[in-house]
């Protein structure tokens, strides 16, 4: 009788061990899968940012179209973008990026002055869309054009800028 009981106990322990083994293998696979998923999600975000930065300057919200002469590629209309900042809430999640920043690089201005309606165009950073400061970014060179006036006459002024698109590393 005692021998049979010991055998049943042995069997129970064995079965418990097997079940535990399968559970552990399952958890391991799940962790492996989710880490792979996170990696591929970041890869997709990076790919999206890369592709986005090449086309963003030519999208209707940014592009110069023909307001500074003939249709230019990678030309950003600064007057339009400064107005876009006022409407940036509407564009929440529109581009799938966490930050879109245009940094004027030539001619140079001392320090970092973020553009607003009150200091434009005497500034060098246009924060079009800024969700948070974390994350990696990709950038592209663009021409930043605006209308300027002098002595009652207006003219087109174009400068060199860098457009950056950031994506979150979640």
């Amino acid at each position: 009788m005692v021998k049979a009981q010991i055998k049943i106990q042995q069997m129970l322990f064995m079965l418990l061990a097997i079940t535990l083994f399968f559970v552990l293998v399952g958890i391991f696979l799940l962790v492996l899968g989710s880490s792979g998923l996170k990696k591929s999600a970041i890869e997709l975000q990076e790919k999206n940012a890369l592709m986005l930065v090449t086309r963003l300057a030519n999208s209707p919200e940014f592009s110069c179209e023909e307001s500074f002469g003939s249709n230019k590629i990678n030309c950003v209309d600064a007057d339009k973008v400064i107005m876009l900042i006022q409407n940036s809430k509407k564009y929440d999640g529109f581009w799938g990026a966490s930050n879109i920043i245009i940094r004027k690089i030539y001619p140079e201005i001392d320090g970092e002055i973020v553009c607003s309606l009150s200091n434009y165009p005497n500034c060098n950073i246009i924060k079009v869309y800024s969700e948070n400061n974390d994350g990696a970014d990709v950038s592209n060179f663009v021409t930043l054009c605006r209308k300027e006036s002098s002595g009652g006459e207006y003219y087109d002024k174009c400068e060199l800028a860098k457009m950056s698109v950031s994506y979150e590393l979640r």
Binding site: G33, S59, E65
Partner: protein
């Protein structure tokens, strides 16, 4: 003496081991099936996201007229849905793949607010073609993308010369000009027999599956040809919403640059376009919005300070 043991001479431990073993096996099989279906859903969602990202270079205006294609290893069903709600509406992409003769069941929709894909619901096959065209109304609104499967061939019969030239230059394998095969979807322009889709190019409407949809310009005409009426109407409403938002942006710009003495005098007309875009109900109203857009375009061309 007759033995009291039954013919199934098994000890308790053996029976217990069989039952427990069967239970463990069942758990293992159930677990792997669940894992497999989750993996399938992940793969479907990944493909849908990849398709959305793939559209970015196609949408760059200077690449217009270039066809892009992608192939998938398994038979795939791409569902390009559309949602009107929100400031810009949403483009939905859902992918499901065939494995062991069964379509994977997925309710994972990848959504994009800045994309406009015109396709039949759903598009099935292994190889897919994409091309895009910018839509200007009167300023650039968006790039419209047309998605078709290599399994569905379109034949354009008696199309106007510029359409024929444009389609021929695409060199898209599933688009035929004039020489129609038996199973082709025949797209007729002003007449013809055995047509699946009829386009009244001058009048600006398309008749398809007993439904009539209205268009303005070639970009919307292709949209009507390559998509279902329901998708077309929904996407057109989304486009008109963007017309309204962009018109507001140009109105703000007009006010801003006018302070520098750069006047465009388009304020009132842009307001009309904003209202028309926001109150757009269906493609049958496209004529009204077109009238306003053309008016604005003429004024912008001759304005002292053009806005676009």
């Amino acid at each position: 003496m007759i033995s009291k043991k039954g013919y199934l001479d098994m000890s308790f431990s053996t029976i217990f081991a069989i039952i427990a073993g069967a239970f463990i096996l069942f758990l293992a099989i159930y677990g792997s099936t669940k894992l497999l279906s989750t993996e399938q859903q992940v793969s479907d969602a990944k493909i849908a996201e990849e398709i959305g990202i793939l559209l970015n270079p196609i949408e760059i205006s200077y690449e217009t007229g270039k066809v892009s294609s992608f192939s998938l290893p398994a038979e795939t069903r791409i569902d390009c849905g559309c949602k009107e709600e929100g400031i810009f509406g949403t483009q939905l992409i859902r992918v499901s793949q065939k494995s062991f003769g069964k379509w994977s069941e997925t309710d994972v929709n990848n959504d994009f607010k800045n994309k406009y894909i015109f396709a039949e619901q759903p598009v099935e096959g292994k190889k897919f073609y994409l091309f895009s065209k910018p839509f200007e109304f009167p300023f650039k609104i968006a790039d419209l993308t047309y998605l078709t499967s290599s399994e569905k061939k379109y034949c354009f019969f008696d199309a106007p010369e510029d359409i024929e030239e444009e389609l021929s230059s695409l060199k898209q394998e599933n688009i035929h000009i004039k020489k129609c095969a038996e199973n082709d979807v025949v797209v007729c322009f002003e007449g013809g027999v055995g047509c699946d889709i009829r386009v009244s190019y001058e009048a600006g409407y398309i008749q398809k599956d007993k439904e009539t949809i209205y268009f303005e310009g070639n970009a919307l005409m292709y949209a009507g040809i390559f998509s279902d009426a329901e998708v077309y109407e929904c996407q057109l409403k989304r486009i008109m919403k963007r017309v309204g938002v962009l018109a507001q942006l140009y109105r703000d710009k007009a006010n801003f640059v006018s302070q520098k003495g750069c006047d465009s005098n388009l304020n009132e007309d842009l307001m009309r376009l904003i209202n028309a875009g926001n109150n757009f109900k269906s493609s049958s109203e496209i004529n009204i919005v077109t009238g306003i857009a053309e008016d604005i375009d003429d004024k912008n061309k001759f304005a002292r300070c053009g806005l676009w």
